[in-house]
Amino acid sequence: MSLLQIDQLCYQPKRPWYKLAGDDGFQLGPVSFSLEKGETISIIGENSCGKSLLAKLIVGAETPTAGRILLNGQTLENNHKTQRASNVRMVFRHSAHALNPSLSIGQMLDEPLRLNTALSAKGRSEKIFKTLKLVGLMADHFYFYKHMLSDGQQQRVALARALILDPQVIVADEPFAALDPSVRSQTVNLLLKLQKELGLAFIFISHNLGIVRHMSDRTIVMHDGQIVEMNLTQTLFLDPQHSASKQLIHAHNALLSLQ
């Protein structure tokens, strides 16, 4: 049994009233794949091919029009927010935008605990300190506000917020895009370490094919709302089959070999 199973997931945006029937526009899916414990899957594809939408469906930020998602063999219900929220967590694209500037880091991390667990105040702050340490921050950061933190530290807070409910799956949309090279390397190392220690499974969406190739076990290529190819990362990068995969990977290799 897989940790996470995506089964025939579809999404069709509601047709605006001014559009004629038959003019369907963009549709996602049906999409199916599964993710194992401790595994990393990357999703690559052109802009607006549906990567971010798929991520939102997986974490429950959007409701699919058809299909289901199973966690450890059990269907995740969209109306069962707690179960979903604590097991499958999203790290947002631009951590700088995703953090509320008027809350201290401690308050920010307290929120998901209050909403999703029955922990006492003391239990919650213990959990917060533990999580801060896990992502390489200090206890003092509990009292910091967003503007007092560097980009890299903000990224760590966003990660801490995703980790605080002990999820099994972390979904991250462009977690590296806004990061500088040295901070990016630190983040890559932190994620690899957390995966090793906690057996976390990751789903990454990224344009940075160098990092995708380094970090992921398997890679999914999306095109026009569909999965057009899925394979072991090293195989896919050496021998892409679908024209969309070829285009992306050849473009990447071409950049590398133009030197």
């Binding site: 090279p181 901070v183 390397s185 890559v188 590398l256 133009l258």
Partner: protein, 334 residues
Amino acid sequence: MILLDIKNLTLEIESNGVLVKALDKASLILEEGEIRALVGESGSGKSLIVKAISGALPPQWIVTADRMTWRGQNLLTMTRAERRKIMRRDIAVVFQDPVAALDPSATLQEQLTESIPEEFVAGTWFWQKRRSRLDIAHSLLHKVGIKDTEYCMAHYAHELPVDICQKFMIAMALVSQPTVLIADDPTRGMETNTKRQILSLFKNLNKTRDLSILFVSHDLVAISSMADTMTVLYCGQTVEDGPFQSVRKKPFHPYTKALMDSAPSFSPDLQPKSALIALGGTIPTLQHLPIGCRLGPRCPRAQKKCVETPVSRKINQHTYRCHFPMHLDDKGIL
């Protein structure tokens, strides 16, 4: 022929009552026909250099330099009119934030057609000129890879996706057929296909029109695909400078080494999912700059001497500022 020559450019600004040096003796040369990469993390001062060159610095900055010239003419002492003329015809800049740099109250068509210099426009009568301007505009947009040029031009900047605006800014910069293009992070957030398209356009213009390019970025894969030379900036100090291949293969400065290590694509022997070699800590803020070499607190090679600012040294074409460089013996010999 040297087009841009900047030697020891220092920019100071007051912060909480003290003067801080956002740029501390930064140096940079751009030769005719070359593509130079200017690399550094955000906040390292890349955009400040771009603004200093283009004369777009706000007045509160104190600018000093041993040299800052355009084709031998002193940029710091020339009149505003002379400077504006250079910026209009010779040096084109693609600023970092495309949407903010465009006029929100005019359609892209108005902005683009108006910036076409009069001498490129054919025809005598206004309708002929109008036609000619539109033709030039469409062909430019095509060149930067915008497919639906009608749609793009009929809209305002905020109505279009960022990647279209990015491409549009590049078209705007190329309209005057400049000698130098300064592009501040032009490929940020672009997906690989679009990126390759833009980069090959740059490379083509460089080959066919002898366009010199200052390519400001920290996208090492993009840089490696086109740069002839590279200047590395850390925290307002230029730490290394030289031909791209020699900087990449034998970096002397520990920061440059860390930069190269951050791109797994550059290390084909790297085991998948293994830890990358990374510097600890983060880039300090202007309010907390370390004295001496600014990499000091994060540098694995740092020693006592590093509290003195290292002077720049040169081996062949390759310049560095470090007391304990890599790949060199203690006499500074390769």
